[in-house]
Subunit: 461 residues, 2 copies
C-alpha cells in the first residue's frame, strides 16, 4: 500500500468513524442478526488477488455494522461500558501506525517511559498512595484486562508463598459476587476449584469480613496456607464494594496477598468526593481498574498496580539469551515484559496519554460526575415508581432493580426493552432474584437517554 | 471531542503515519536514548485542563519518535519482525473506532463471525488440514501472542489429563531451543520448573525424537504422566524446525497433547513450496503462528488453532449469570471468550480481513517469497565470505552467523553494527557460540538494504 493509498483510505475511515459516532444513537443498539447472518455475506474463501478495498466502506455499512451491538451507543447500559473516546481511538491508530514492540525498554524506550509516566499520572488523578508510584518499590503497568491482572496477581502471590510449584495446600478467598475471572484465573494457574473459598457476603452483596477471618483461620488451623484474597470494589452484578480496610487487616495476619479488583469503579476516584472507592488500597498488594471501561480509553487498557515490583517481576522474569541487552543489565530501566504473562507489548500508553492530555483532570472529573449524577436520578426514579424496587443500593452509576411482581415479570420487561432495540440492558441474579442492571457510563449518554429509558420502562410496568 | 475535531486530528495523524513510514528508513533504526531521556521531556503530573492536543504532532516528532527503535524500518532485522502494513493499521483504527467487545457472539455478532471466517481463510491460505476449520470439531481463534497460545494450550492439556488441580505428576517436554514462553507458561500454570523436561536437540538445533521418546517412557515408567509436548517450527534463535511428524507419533503413544509453536515460520505456508513448515500439523492438538510477525498484520494477532474446540472450551468456560444469553444457550454460536484467558476481546479480525483482501493470496505469497529470496542471497554471501560462517542452516529468511575468529570478535562486530544505527541486528547463543541473527521480514526490506548490511559487515570483518 503506497503512502497515497494509505492517506486516501485513511481519511475515508476517519470520516466513517466520525459518521458512525454521530449516528450511532439512531441505530438499533443491539444487533438484529441471527447466527450466521454476517458469515453468509462474507466470501467463503480468501481472494486470489487483492481487491483494493474499494468496496470496504460498503461492506462495513451493509455487512459489518448491522452485525454489531453498539457499545458506543448512548443507550447502551449493558454489562459495563467500554469507553472509546476520540482521543483514545486516535491514540490506538498512532500505536498501530508506529508499529513498535515495547517488551523491553531497549526495544523502544519511549514505549516504556511514556507508560511509566502515565501510570504515575493515574496515581495523581485517582489519589492513589505513593506506594504505587514508579519511584517507590511498587509501580503500575498496562495490561489487556482485569482478568489478566487477576491471573498475574495470583501467580505472583503463589511465587511469594511457595515458589513455582503445584501447591495443593494453598487457599484463596473471594465472594460469590466477585467476577468470574477469579475462578478462571485460579484454574489457569493450576488450582482446584475448592482451593478458592467462597466467603459469605452481606445483604448489600459486600464481603463479610468476619466470614473471611473465620475461613482463613480455619484453613490455617487445618495446616493449609491462606495465600490470596480478592476484594472487589464495584462488583459486576451490583457494583457492591467490599470493605477493603478490614479485609486488608485480616489478609495481613496470614501474610496473604490482597488483590483489589475495581475494574469499573476505580475510575470514579478521579473525583475526590468519590474516593471512598480507594479505601484500604494503601494496604493492598495489587490493584487494578480499567480505563477502558469508564475512563474514556478504548479497550484494551487495564491499569495494574503492585506494591512490590520485585515480587511481581521475580515471578515473571525469564531472560533468554536473545533478549539480553546492556540497558536491562544496567538495572536502570523497566522491562515491562516481566510485569505480564505475554512477551510482546503494544504501545498502549499512547492512548491513555492522549486521553489525559485532551480532557485534563478537570474534564475526567466532570465526565465521571455526570454519569454518577445520571445514576442518582435514575435511582430516585426507580425508588419512586410504585412497580419497581431496588434490589441493591446504587453505588456510583449502577442501578439494580426488579418489578415488584417478581422474577417472571422482571424478566419479561427486560426482554421487551431489549427486543425494541432502543436501549440495551442486561440482567443478573442477586441472591436468587432476577435483576435488571442499568450501568450508566457510555461516552455519549445524556439525561435525555435516561428519560427515554424511564418512559419505556414506565410503559411496561 | 466533536466529530469535526476528530476528523481534523484524524487526518493529521493519518498524514503523520504515512510520512513516518515514508521516512523511517532515514532514521537511526535503534533509538539513541539514554534511560530517562523520554520521561524527562514529559510533564511530571497530569494537566489540570485539557490542552486540545495542539502540540501533539510536535511532541510526537521531538519526544516520542526519537525514543523509538523503529521496528518498521527496512533495516530492522532484530528479534523477529513485527509487520505493520497499511491495511492492518487501518483495520486497527476501525476496530478502535467501532469500540465493540466480542467476548460473546451476542455482544456483537459480527466480531465473532468475521473472526471465524478469516480463521478459515487462513486454513485455506496456509494449506492447513480441515481439522482446524470451524466446520470441523476444531477451529481457530485470534489471541494476543504465542505466549498466550502456549499457556492456553497447557491449561487445556492439563484439563484433559486430570482436570483443574495441582498436578505434581504431570510432565511436559520441549528443547532448550524453544521460546522462553514455554517455561513461562508452565510456571504461570502452576508447574515446577523440573516438570518441564528439556529434551536434547541435534546439531541443527531441532529436537531429537529418540531423546523425547526416551524421556517420556522413563517418566511413564516412573509413574509420572507425560501430558504436554511443545514442538517448535522456526525456533527464535535459529529458525530450527523440530521433526513434528515423529514427535506427534511419540506424543500420541502417551496421550500427550502436542502443541506446535510456529510463531514466525507459520506464515511461510502461504507459499505452497514452503509448506514443509506444516509437516505433521495434522497430528497436532494445537498450533499457533503470528500474522503479526510475518503476515503484514500489526501486533497483536496470533492465530491459534485447536483440534478439539470442546477440549479447549471445557477448560476455559465459566458462565456467570450476567453473561447468560439466548444465543449462547442455543449452541448455535461460538463464544470466543471460552477460547482464551481474558474475557474481553477487541475486533482484531478486522485487520486480518483487510490485509487478506488487500493483498490477496497471490500478494501474500509474493511477499513471503521475496523475504525468503533475500534470506537465501544473504546466506550465500555469508557462506562465500572468508571471515564469516553460518552457525546454523538457514531456514526461510533467518541467517545465523559468526566471525571465524570466535565469540569476542563476533560480539564486537554486532556492537559496531548496532552502534552505527544503520541496521539493527540481535544476537543469540547456539550451543555456547555467540551468534549474530539476521531475521529478514520487515514490510519494506529490499535487496538494497541487505546489500548495505553486507557492505558494513564486510568493512568490519
Amino acid at each position: 500500500m503506497t503512502g497515497e493509498q494509505f492517506r486516501s483510505l485513511g481519511y475515508e475511515l476517519i470520516d466513517f468513524i466520525a459518521d458512525y459516532h454521530d449516528t450511532v444513537a439512531d441505530r438499533p443498539v443491539q444487533s438484529l442478526c441471527e447466527p450466521g447472518d454476517v458469515a453468509a455475506q462474507l466470501a467463503a474463501g480468501p481472494p486470489e488477488h487483492g481487491d483494493g478495498l474499494t468496496s470496504l466502506i460498503d461492506d462495513l455499512s451493509t455487512v459489518i455494522v448491522p452485525g454489531l451491538t453498539h457499545w458506543q451507543s448512548p443507550t447502551f447500559h449493558a454489562y459495563y461500558p467500554a469507553n472509546a473516546s476520540g482521543p483514545s481511538i486516535l491514540g490506538e491508530l498512532l500505536s498501530a501506525g508506529l508499529g513498535v514492540n515495547g517488551m523491553n525498554w531497549a526495544t523502544s524506550p519511549a514505549v516504556t517511559e511514556v507508560e511509566t509516566r502515565v501510570m504515575d499520572w493515574l496515581v495523581d488523578l485517582c489519589g492513589l498512595d505513593d506506594g504505587f508510584r514508579s519511584t517507590s518499590d511498587g509501580g503500575g503497568v498496562i495490561l489487556d484486562s482485569a482478568s489478566s491482572a487477576l491471573l498475574t496477581a495470583v501467580v505472583a502471590a503463589r511465587f511469594r508463598a511457595v515458589g513455582h510449584r503445584p501447591a495443593a495446600e494453598l487457599c484463596a478467598y473471594t465472594t460469590a459476587q466477585a467476577h468470574s475471572s477469579v475462578l478462571k484465573g485460579m484454574r489457569v494457574a493450576g488450582f482446584a476449584d475448592d482451593q478458592l473459598r467462597i466467603v459469605d457476603h452481606d445483604p448489600v452483596f459486600a464481603m463479610q469480613p468476619e466470614a473471611l477471618a473465620a475461613a482463613m483461620s480455619a484453613d490455617a488451623d487445618a495446616g493449609l496456607v491462606p495465600f490470596f484474597v480478592t476484594a472487589t470494589v464495584g462488583t459486576t452484578s451490583s457494583c457492591a464494594i467490599d470493605p477493603v480496610p478490614v479485609i486488608a487487616e485480616i489478609s495481613k495476619k496470614h501474610d496473604a496477598w490482597l488483590h483489589v479488583d475495581a475494574a469499573f469503579a476505580g475510575s470514579a476516584a478521579v473525583a475526590p468526593e468519590l474516593r471512598f472507592v480507594n479505601a484500604g488500597l494503601d494496604q493492598a498488594d495489587s490493584y487494578c481498574f480499567n480505563p477502558h471501561k469508564w475512563l474514556l480509553t478504548n479497550f484494551d487498557c487495564t491499569a495494574f498496580y503492585v506494591r512490590s515490583q520485585q515480587a511481581l517481576t521475580s515471578s515473571m522474569r525469564i531472560v533468554p539469551e536473545f533478549l539480553k541487552n546492556a540497558a536491562s543489565e544496567s538495572g536502570q530501566v523497566i522491562d515491562y515484559r516481566d510485569w505480564q504473562v505475554p512477551l510482546g507489548r503494544r504501545f498502549r500508553a499512547l492512548k491513555l496519554w492522549m486521553v489525559i492530555r485532551w480532557y485534563g483532570a478537570e474534564g475526567l472529573r466532570t465526565y465521571i460526575r455526570h454519569h454518577v449524577e445520571l445514576g442518582r436520578g435514575f435511582d430516585a426514579w426507580i425508588v419512586e415508581h410504585p412497580s419497581f424496587e431496588l434490589v441493591a443500593p446504587t453505588n456510583l452509576s449502577v442501578v439494580c432493580f426488579a418489578h415488584v411482581d417478581g422474577n417472571e415479570r422482571t424478566k419479561h420487561i427486560l426482554e421487551q426493552i431489549n427486543e425494541d432495540r432502543a436501549h440495551h440492558l442486561t440482567h443478573t441474579a442477586l441472591d436468587g432474584r432476577y435483576t435488571i442492571r442499568v450501568a450508566i457510563g457510555s461516552v455519549r449518554t445524556e439525561q435525555v437517554h435516561i428519560e427515554a429509558l424511564q418512559a419505556d420502562l414506565a410503559a411496561l410496568a
